[in-house]
């Protein structure tokens, strides 16, 4: 009986597919890089050279609405902001991994797509806004880019670089699981629905580096890494001092677990990463940043 069923299924399938009358002509999509007069050609060539060729990353700045969550209304990023972020991401992110970890680490493990979106994804009912997300272990989407003030490093970190470290950490733990014990450090206060009602101070006292970290374990894990990398010593120490004894102990335990996991599973020295990022954050020379592509290589030269 089964045999007949499958045979018939094949016949029907063949019947349905046998009728394709459409002939496909050559594509009419024009590759802006091949179009010598394209407005964005120079930027696209730059992206190809410094992102696609070097890191096998597609840097998406022209928005295709069907690639976004239809439940949210968003707008594209401006070309100017995309240009700035592309340069800055090389300086504060790619080049850091190249110099501190290895020149091939992000080629091997980094995201394959970075998508920039101009606005945040706003959930008015919850009173929250999404600043970034990672999908399928390969794509990082960064939001609210149009609101970025390029001389405000705290804002850049909050909107972009913390988000990039956060989302990239998701990509890493999606490949190699983080220790189960991490979730046992402060297991009872995770609240995926009401985390936004907690102040930063309340989150610290409960043993989380941010209120979002208190939403669920995996967010806690990547928030710990991301906050540690981008927060200055002064900011990190302020948090520890104001977390109370219990909170500080929990945060330090979590940090130690993140540090160990990165070293053991990925051979990444979290503290060396942090030192390098902090050094670069403190010296944002825009003329330099906007003039360079392969920073690490140029530095060596």
């Amino acid at each position: 009986m089964k045999k007949i069923f499958y045979t018939l299924l094949c016949i029907v399938a063949l019947g349905l597919t046998a009728c394709q009358g459409d002939k496909f002509g050559p594509t009419i999509y024009i590759d802006p890089i091949e179009d010598l007069d394209a407005y964005t050609r120079e930027f696209d060539l730059w992206l190809k050279k410094y992102y696609t060729d070097k890191y096998n990353v597609e840097f998406l700045y022209r928005l295709d609405d069907s690639a976004t969550d239809p439940n949210y209304n968003v707008v594209p990023v401006s070309i100017g902001k995309a240009d700035t972020i592309a340069h800055l991401a090389l300086y504060l992110w790619y080049d850091v991994y190249d110099s501190v970890v290895s020149p091939t680490f992000l080629l091997d493990n980094g995201p394959k797509m970075i998508q920039l979106i101009g606005s945040a994804m706003i959930n008015a009912a919850q009173g929250t806004e999404k600043l970034g997300y990672a999908e399928g272990g390969s794509k990082i989407t960064l939001l609210k880019i149009n609101k970025m003030e390029t001389n405000n490093i705290e804002q850049l970190n909050e909107y972009i670089f913390k988000t990039m470290h956060h989302e990239f950490s998701h990509i890493l733990h999606q490949q190699k699981a983080y220790p189960k014990e991490f979730g046992q450090i402060t297991p009872y206060d995770y609240d995926p629905n009401r985390w936004q009602d907690r102040s930063a101070q309340e989150a610290w006292e409960l043993g989380y580096v941010s209120n979002y970290a208190s939403s669920q374990t995996r967010e806690d894990f990547v928030e710990t890494i991301a906050n540690y990398i981008v927060k200055t010593d002064a900011d990190w120490n302020y948090m520890i001092e104001h977390a109370g004894e219990e909170g500080a102990t929990a945060i330090n335990q979590k940090l130690e677990m993140c540090r160990g996991w990165l070293a053991e599973k990925w051979e990444v020295d979290l503290d060396a990463m942090r030192v390098e990022v902090q050094k670069r954050q403190a010296n944002l020379d825009w003329d330099y940043i906007m003039s360079l592509g392969f920073l690490h290589e140029k530095d060596e030269n």
Partner: protein, 434 residues
């Protein structure tokens, strides 16, 4: 047995799925047609020398806006707009970003990098929705004269037409503003003639027509709303009236708008409109400076008597209006003639004399008939008895009027001429008479 049934069913499905005799409605395959549509649009958009006027509806429930777009073949687009909502009534010019035409479920025009002018409608702002506008559009049709677009997410329809040559952007927006002020008023009532039926259209100045049965006011709960957008030569609707959803463009003529599929919008029967206008809780107020004849004389006579009686040489009549009052329901006709006047006697006295009157559009064919009934408040009763010019003034207003449109033929509520033998009243619609 079951085996044979399956075989028969399978064969039937195969045979049905693959009828080679069926004639195609098109000469080309779907993919070829989609490619052609994309190529056509890609070539067409940079062509108009002065760019395009886009009549943009962010979504099917909001008023439309005018944007000037100029595409170049290298992927650049500039946008210019001037409106209260996104540019604070200032001209925002030539904001630069990129455009592309791509294939989704049809050819899609996408404004795919941020443009300060264009994306203001799509920005989620703080509530996640903003103005619920689109920046990706399905191209429904594209010719050198007109491109019809449908917003991909929020489904507002928009039209692009070539900008007139030799017209500055400032002149374009000034022209649109002229159409708006000339033809649309929140006090306006227009008549839609569509396929032998008549309907009333209310408002318009807010960019939304409320529709109702002829001679009636729109329902207060869930009125049926049609978003519109003024253009240089008339207006566009996001979607046409129920009888013809595709009739979007209406061209302005001297006394009417004519739709692209033959519907007409005018002021139709002014007598019916006069009465209905009062029924929607508004009224008519006389233009005391520009009215002439017996009415003007009566106003002058009453003013003189008022000054004599009060000893105030500056006493004056402030307004004469026909309106509606709940208390007038006790009287036949249930309308009110309201005369407001003032004088000073140690302190300023503002008086309002209300008289019940009949207003009828049926008593005499082709005329609006005003008939005096009785004083409606104490002021009216007292002055009607004690000031002899007050009954004369009231009598000068009563009568059989032939109505005609004044200076704005498409907007009778702005200027209506009421003529009877020996007297001409110029009136305008008013909503603050109650």
């Amino acid at each position: 047995m079951k085996k044979y049934i399956y075989i028969v069913l399978a064969l039937a499905s195969v045979l049905c799925a693959c009828s080679r005799d069926e004639d195609s409605l098109f000469d080309k395959s779907a993919s070829e047609r989609a490619q052609e549509a994309m190529e056509n649009a890609t070539e067409l958009l940079p062509q108009p020398a002065a760019g395009w006027e886009m009549i943009y509806f962010a979504n099917p429930e909001s008023r439309g806006y005018n944007i000037i777009l100029r595409f170049d073949k290298n992927g650049r687009v500039t946008a210019t707009a001037k409106n209260k909502v996104t540019t604070n009534d200032k001209m925002m010019t030539d904001s630069l970003s990129t455009w592309t035409v791509k294939l989704d479920y049809g050819p899609i025009l996408s404004f795919d990098t941020y443009n300060d002018v264009f994306h203001a409608w799509a920005d989620p702002q703080n509530d996640g929705d903003g103005l619920l506008g689109d920046y990706e559009f399905l191209i429904l049709s594209a010719t050198p004269e007109r491109v019809l677009l449908k917003g991909k997410k929020h489904e507002g329809y928009s039209i692009m037409r070539p900008m007139p040559l030799d017209m500055t952007d400032e002149a374009y927006f000034a022209g649109v503003a002229t159409t708006l002020s000339k033809c649309f008023s929140n006090d306006n009532i227009l008549t839609l003639h569509q396929k032998g039926e008549r309907y009333y259209l209310h408002n318009g100045a807010s960019g939304l027509f409320a529709i109702s049965a002829f001679g009636t006011k729109p329902p207060t709960v869930d009125p049926i709303i049609y978003p519109i957008c003024a253009t240089l030569d008339g207006f566009m609707m996001c979607f046409g009236f129920n009888g013809d959803k595709n009739e979007r463009m209406f061209v302005m003529e001297e006394t009417r708008f004519v739709g692209e599929n033959g519907s007409v919008i005018d002021h139709d029967d002014l007598n019916v409109m006069f009465v209905t206008y009062i029924d929607v809780n508004k009224g008519w107020t006389a233009d005391l400076k520009n009215s002439t004849g017996a009415f003007a004389d009566a106003v002058t006579a009453f003013t003189t008597q008022l000054q004599t009686l009060t000893g105030d040489s500056k006493a004056k009549v402030n307004s004469v209006a026909v309106t509606y009052s709940d208390t007038a329901f006790h009287y036949e006709g249930s309308y009110v003639l309201r005369i407001k006047y003032e004088y000073k006697k140690s302190t300023k006295q503002n008086l309002m004399a209300d008289f019940a009157i009949n207003v009828s559009d049926t008593k005499k064919a082709g005329f609006t008939v005003l008939e005096y009934v009785a004083p409606l408040n104490t002021t009216a009763a007292t002055w009607y008895q004690q000031a002899s010019e007050m009954p004369n003034l009231v009598a000068a207003i009563m009568g059989e009027y032939a109505l005609s449109v004044g200076s704005d033929p498409l907007n009778p509520a702005k200027s209506l001429q009421m003529a009877k033998e020996g007297s001409t009243l110029m009136c305008s619609g008013a909503s603050n008479l109650k």
